[in-house]
Amino acid sequence: MASTKPRKDAWAPWVFTAVIIILWQAICSGFTVSEFIFPSPAAVVKSLVEFAGPIADHAWQTFWTTVAGFGIGVGVGLVLGFIIGSSRFMYNALYPLMIGFNSIPKAAFVPILVVWFGIGTVPAILTAFLISFFPIVVNVATGLATLEPELEDVLRSLGAKRLDVLIKVGLPRSLPYFFASLKVAITLAFVGAVVSETVAANKGIGYLMMSAGSSMRMGLVFAGLIVISAMAMVMYVAFAMLEKRMTGWATRGMDSKL
């Protein structure tokens, strides 16, 4: 393991993954499971290699729709979170509505989006957006709303305006919450995009899996699953690293309770 910062248990996830794959292969070979039901890892890899070109094509479609939806989600989430977190009135007014909205399964929006925008990329982007902005809103709002009253007193007694307090203290304070929510939101955005693609698209990993499934090419379906998971993990790690870089102060020695 050529890791820059060697840790004692860095090998653990790799070994565990390898064990799972070996077990999977053993079960498929040992019980001669039909490839139309449950393809072995070998068959999945075969499909991956065989259809590498089309898979990459569809993966790119899924990737950019996801990132586009996520991008809108970040923008809207930041603004809404800012509004909700900085005003008690807006918090009370909007929060119940947000909870209600969030409890709707986002897949239920896809048919509506298809009616409005037709089949294709737009519903996928919008579904990714709808599913991913909520955790950002909640986290940013929490970061802003949990400002210490004493600190606010210190600043207000100096004549600080609301905006001063928000910019000097509220925003930096909510950054760790914000970056933590990005990790969650990006993985959710993939879910949204793929769900939409399986129902209403003619491109993307979701569409690929749907059409491969209907022609009983299970190896390709599983290959699609693995590609989605790999993309989501890469993005998750990217945002985890960004989080660490931007808000390292929040995770180091917080024993003083801020």
């Binding site: 210490e148 007694s157 001063d164 102060w249 180091r252 309770k257």
Partner: protein
Amino acid sequence: MLNTAETSSGDAQARVLVDFDRVDLAYDDTGGNAIEDVSLSIREGEFVAIVGPSGCGKSTFMKLVSGLKPPTQGNVVVDGREVSGPLKIVGMAFQAPTLLPWRTAMDNLMLPLEIVEPYRSTLKQKRGEYEARARSLLKTVGLEGNENKFPWELSGGMQQRASICRALIHQPKLLLLDEPFGALDAFTREELWCVLRDLWTEKRFTVVLVTHDLREAAFLADTVYVMSKRPGRILVRKEIDLPRPRDLDITYEERFTDIVLELREHIGRIRKT
């Protein structure tokens, strides 16, 4: 208003900085008063301590002095003017150091200067000058060489020192301290008493210290006010006539313990009622 506060002797020390005239404050219409009928005046440069049982409205008193809350009844005059909003001539520190964890000690100290005028608009040009001031302030409280450390790299006592420095960086006329040493261990607390004493002796700002600790009040203050249970009223005004400069040794002398015992008696009587 300003002239009447001046004494006939014209002694600058005796100018009244804070004047409460029969002040009530109710947080809402139903809950009754948090403090009631409070009248007192604090001279410029005076060190005042306010003691009382918990929940007696000591912190409410702070909000009134700093202009964060307007009184429901009566008048609060600070620095010759009726208080009608945040004052900008006060510095505050609390039991929790409330330093910003993403800023170094130095940058934490600079925070008030980023907000209060005239520093706010001159910060860009005079940054060096202000940083030198912050550095010398940190030196007076024994934090020399810690300018670039983050709060989590400092001990509790060091954080509290930095917090007091932050309250003083803009050279306020009035320093408000709300149980600033409450969360510290006994040794650190007494050390910081001396730090505060020395800062005050050097700069002679006016201090209002809210505390539970009667020894702390007696050691540091010129005047101690004892407040009653809610609704808070001033029950006793006690001048501490111990000579200055006071040394920690004085806390073991009889005249000191007599004062503490007397204050204790008042508090005990309040708690019984």
